[in-house]
Symmetry: C4
Subunit: 149 residues, 4 copies
Amino acid sequence: MPRRLSVTLTSVLRLALATAVVSSSVVLVGGAMVWRLEGDRHGTTFESLGDGIWWAMTTMTTVGYGDHVPETTSGRVVAGMIMIMGVAVLGAVAAVVALIFASAVARREERLLEAEGRTLEARLEVRLDTLDARLARIEEHLQGRAPRE
Amino acid sequence: MPRRLSVTLTSVLRLALATAVVSSSVVLVGGAMVWRLEGDRHGTTFESLGDGIWWAMTTMTTVGYGDHVPETTSGRVVAGMIMIMGVAVLGAVAAVVALIFASAVARREERLLEAEGRTLEARLEVRLDTLDARLARIEEHLQGRAPRE
Amino acid sequence: MPRRLSVTLTSVLRLALATAVVSSSVVLVGGAMVWRLEGDRHGTTFESLGDGIWWAMTTMTTVGYGDHVPETTSGRVVAGMIMIMGVAVLGAVAAVVALIFASAVARREERLLEAEGRTLEARLEVRLDTLDARLARIEEHLQGRAPRE
Amino acid sequence: MPRRLSVTLTSVLRLALATAVVSSSVVLVGGAMVWRLEGDRHGTTFESLGDGIWWAMTTMTTVGYGDHVPETTSGRVVAGMIMIMGVAVLGAVAAVVALIFASAVARREERLLEAEGRTLEARLEVRLDTLDARLARIEEHLQGRAPRE
């Protein structure tokens, strides 16, 4: 089933790309937002856009070193959104890897079912061949006898 | 199979909603509890309900910055429950995303099996048509000869 | 398929129990080991068995506050093992939740396939009934004519 | 289906081994790189190769204690790669565990479908046997009558 394999790989690559694009956007936009919201606070650790992006990355991957932590309510709301996105991204990555395996299992399953279907059909065909042959003999017999009568 | 798709989407949306409701409740209740249990401790970092909720959120998503950490045994027991819920929520999110993909794969599988079933049936129908036609000829032959005898 | 559902629920409960038992053991044994290995170090933060267990729990769930961190090589080796167990436990929890859903999908699939199998069989039965009736008529016809000859 | 079981277990073991090898390599190489990049920085916490490897391990498993954190841009880029690998490894582990369960479910499914296929075939065989017997009687009847005419 080469068509099926390619379809699956295409969806996986599409999802992987979508995950990468969404994750990068969340890290860049979220990091920039928190840097803006927290950067002017007295005693802030968000000293540059780079710090914001670095923090957003450690948050989204749920690593959370704690070297940079938002302390304003608005900063924490943005952080909460990044964390929720991070959990969703983790789920998507797990699902993509699981899908690759599951589709391999499904393909094997499918081939086995096809093989089984063919076996069933083949056995029924043999039986129907026998019936057909018998009927052909009966027909010939009846037609062969017809002129003799 | 539009009915099936809608059923699957409904279950996914229901689970997503349930996950969101349970997670929010755990964050709010757990955060409030730990703030109550830790807020009066000397040198606490849980200075407000907001700190409690923020801490509960970073704990549930397993980010764990470490800017707020419970130090009493009762606070740690509540924290442990939030962590366990967090692991379960991560699993549920991963499962929901995996389910969406798996159901797509299952639908394709189903269509392929249906198509195969129809092909098998169509081929058997052709064979049975042949047998039927043969029998009809035999019957006609026998009935056609009957009056001649 | 009530038997099947119960089988699945039993396996899920069994895995959930096994995960809980293994996780608890790792947290207790690992926490005690690191407390032993790190507790005598100058400037340690592992002041009690409770600190060890608390740290092991935050490590296994990958929260990692960083309020207690092993600094000896042997403590870090034990920590590494707890981390690896934590990743495996996360995977097991995700798999259990995914399994519950997948088995629900599989049960629907199964019912659809059964229904399809029954439809195919019913249609073939109708065809075979027709053939059978035709053959019965031929047989009667032949036997009815036999005495007349 | 013993052959199938062994195939699945082999793929799982192969993936588990691949995950372990890739993870170990990323931890060793990434830890060494960050130690090199960060070790000479004033006020660094990366004092030895061991610190680098320990940090890489806490990063890859997304534990992220924050006891060692890269602060140079190049160190953070390496850290980001390790985090992304960590998320992928988490996904792979979840997928492997899910696969083990899914393949067990798939095997039950397969056995049920096989059993159903055999039941369908058995019932059709009984019907075909009846048709065959009827035809045999007709043939005998016709051949038995032939000499008498």
